[in-house]
């Protein structure tokens, strides 16, 4: 596994600063990544030159905005190898994408006796929407358990076999756990679900900017992600859905832009994707997201994946030498995706994050929107370091030195 060029760092203006007098070491990429200059420029260029509403205007700027917005959609389709750009719905992010499927597909298809299957490693964004829709429809929510520490907290695949019955209408799971650093075998999980006739939804929030993703090869029915976790802007995300499914689903929100005809008491809907994009869409951020797709494919996602995995492995090795550390997920030396979360008996995550901040290091401390999982693991919170294209082994050394100092302080 090889690392990317450290010169990539210079593409990201926000990294060129000091925090508390120390060079910024940004290791909170699981929460959001920094943005390259090309993405920031695309956003500014849209507002400076092309700002206009889409789909309705007949003037030059509106046509430019519409072309840019639809080009972003086509690029989004290409980014995950979707068969058709009509399979790309722009949303605010992963959370809205999952809510859209839960409310639209769920309300039309779920009945008492049906099962929605998710896993114990889901982020709240792929858990609470399913709690809500199963309550509303009388369907049942079930969980694939996370195995114990000896099994490295992976999904319990034997339990999955038993849970996958013909009553399961949808299996929703995370591609990459934001707490455990585990990359699930999405194609294998989708094949298992398909065998019992269940649809699949993948939460790709953590993987989209880090791992190669081909929805046709994976065979999923829906896939959700956010732009801001893949070098793009906040407020824009994608729901991928197979066209036949999207065309059969009722609207999620209604209003302008999603109708074909409106009469006083009745309206007809446009086909997907416009059916699910009521109101003026987030044109500017979709166009900036286009620049993010280009930026990441300019580096190459297999190379990004190698880089992130290599850094996470190095971090695991360096941190495993710290006294009293508990590292979640894959054991040191085993494959893990680009993040490491850990806990110490001696120091709480918030104290660690506050201390590390004084050394210019940005970490995440807390329950990572995984409250039920943290309860199961017996941890109130963990500290997480998550890596991206601009991080370096030197920064891992800075992290390890800072943690050593913190542990001494609380010893």
């Amino acid at each position: 596994m090889s690392l990317l060029s450290p010169a990539l760092r210079f593409d990201f203006p926000a990294l060129d600063q000091h925090v508390g007098g120390k060079p910024l070491v940004y290791l909170d990429n699981g929460a959001t990544t920094q943005k390259p200059r090309s993405v920031i420029d695309a956003l500014a260029r849209f507002y400076e030159r092309n700002n206009s509403n889409v789909h309705r205007g007949l003037h030059a700027l509106s046509m430019r905005a519409t072309d840019g917005f639809e080009a972003a959609r086509a690029r989004a389709a290409k980014f995950i190898n979707a068969a058709d750009s009509a399979e790309i719905v722009f949303t605010r992010g992963t959370t809205e994408s999952v809510n859209l499927v839960a409310q639209s597909w769920g309300s039309a298809n779920l009945r008492p006796g049906d099962i929605v299957l998710i896993t114990e490693m889901e982020h709240h964004s792929n858990l609470v929407p399913w709690q809500q829709i199963t309550r509303q429809t009388g369907a049942t929510l079930k969980y694939v358990p996370v195995a114990g520490a000896d099994a490295e907290h992976g999904l319990d695949l034997d339990a999955l076999e038993k849970l996958l019955t013909p009553q399961v209408k949808l299996f929703a799971f995370t591609h990459l756990s934001n707490t455990l650093g585990i990359l699930n075998d999405a194609a294998r999980l989708c094949a298992k679900a398909r065998a019992v006739g269940a649809l699949t939804l993948i939460d790709a929030a953590q993987s989209i900017g880090h791992e190669p993703i081909d929805v046709q090869a994976i065979g999923c029915d829906f896939l959700a992600y956010s732009g801001h976790k893949m070098a793009g802007p906040t407020g824009i995300g994608v729901l991928y859905g197979k066209r036949a499914l999207l065309d059969d689903m009722p609207p999620y929100q209604t209003g302008g832009g999603m109708i074909s005809t409106v009469d006083w008491f009745e309206s007809k809907w446009k086909p997907a994707p416009e059916r699910f994009e009521a109101g003026t869409p987030n044109v500017a951020d979709a166009i900036a997201l286009h620049a993010a797709f280009d930026y990441l494919d300019g580096i190459g996602r297999p190379a990004i994946s190698d880089h992130d995995h290599a850094l996470a492995a190095q971090a695991c090795t360096a941190l495993s030498e710290l006294p009293g550390i508990r590292i979640l997920g894959p054991k040191t030396g085993k494959p893990r995706a680009g993040l490491v979360s850990f806990a110490f008996a001696a120091a709480h995550a918030h104290d660690i994050v506050t201390f590390a901040d004084q050394d210019g290091i940005a970490l995440r401390g807390g329950h990572h929107c995984n409250q039920p999982l943290m309860k199961k693991l017996g941890l109130p919170s963990t500290t997480r370091a998550s890596f991206y294209v601009y991080n370096t082994p030197e920064e891992i050394a800075v992290l390890a030195a800072s943690l050593r100092k913190i542990l001494k302080f609380f010893a």
Binding site: A347, A349, T354, G366, F410
Partner: protein, 142 residues
């Protein structure tokens, strides 16, 4: 780390390591819990109110050094006081953690003055206090 030694005063580290009045209080007649949903810190305060006076007080919980030390110190400060005195002390404490200025007559609580430079941590420092005040305002539980 000069800022941090302001934040993590010796008194705070001591209460974090050796919390006072930690545990359940079987004879409690008031109980209240608080949590900080953004970070998962939680604190439960048990107290026995004898008339208007806090006769006994204990706390349980999990969280950062600031939240746990603050809850521990809080129990030592309001034990034996009246409800009105406890409320006044909490108001004084909130003033300390938000402004960094402590009145001369306040001793140990002044250790939390450093929190004002870390606005994200003010909620940690007040978690136990909020639980205690909630408990005091409740109707008797037994």
């Amino acid at each position: 780390m000069s800022d941090l030694t302001d934040l993590y005063q010796a008194v705070i580290l001591d209460h974090n390591k050796r919390p006072r009045n930690r545990g359940k209080l079987p004879v409690a007649n008031r109980v209240a819990s608080g949590d900080n949903p953004t970070c998962g810190d939680n604190c439960t305060v048990y107290l026995r109110l004898d008339g208007d006076r806090i006769a006994e007080i204990c706390f349980e919980g999990a969280g950062c050094a600031i939240s746990q030390a603050s809850a521990s110190l809080m129990t030592t400060q309001i034990k034996g006081r009246t409800v009105a005195e406890a409320e006044a002390l909490f108001n004084a404490f909130k003033e300390i953690v938000t402004t960094g200025k402590a009145p001369d007559e306040i001793s140990d609580l002044a250790a939390f003055a450093g929190v004002h430079a870390f606005p994200a941590r003010i909620k940690c420092a007040t978690l136990g206090w909020h639980a205690a005040l909630d408990a005091l305002r409740q109707p008797p539980s037994s």
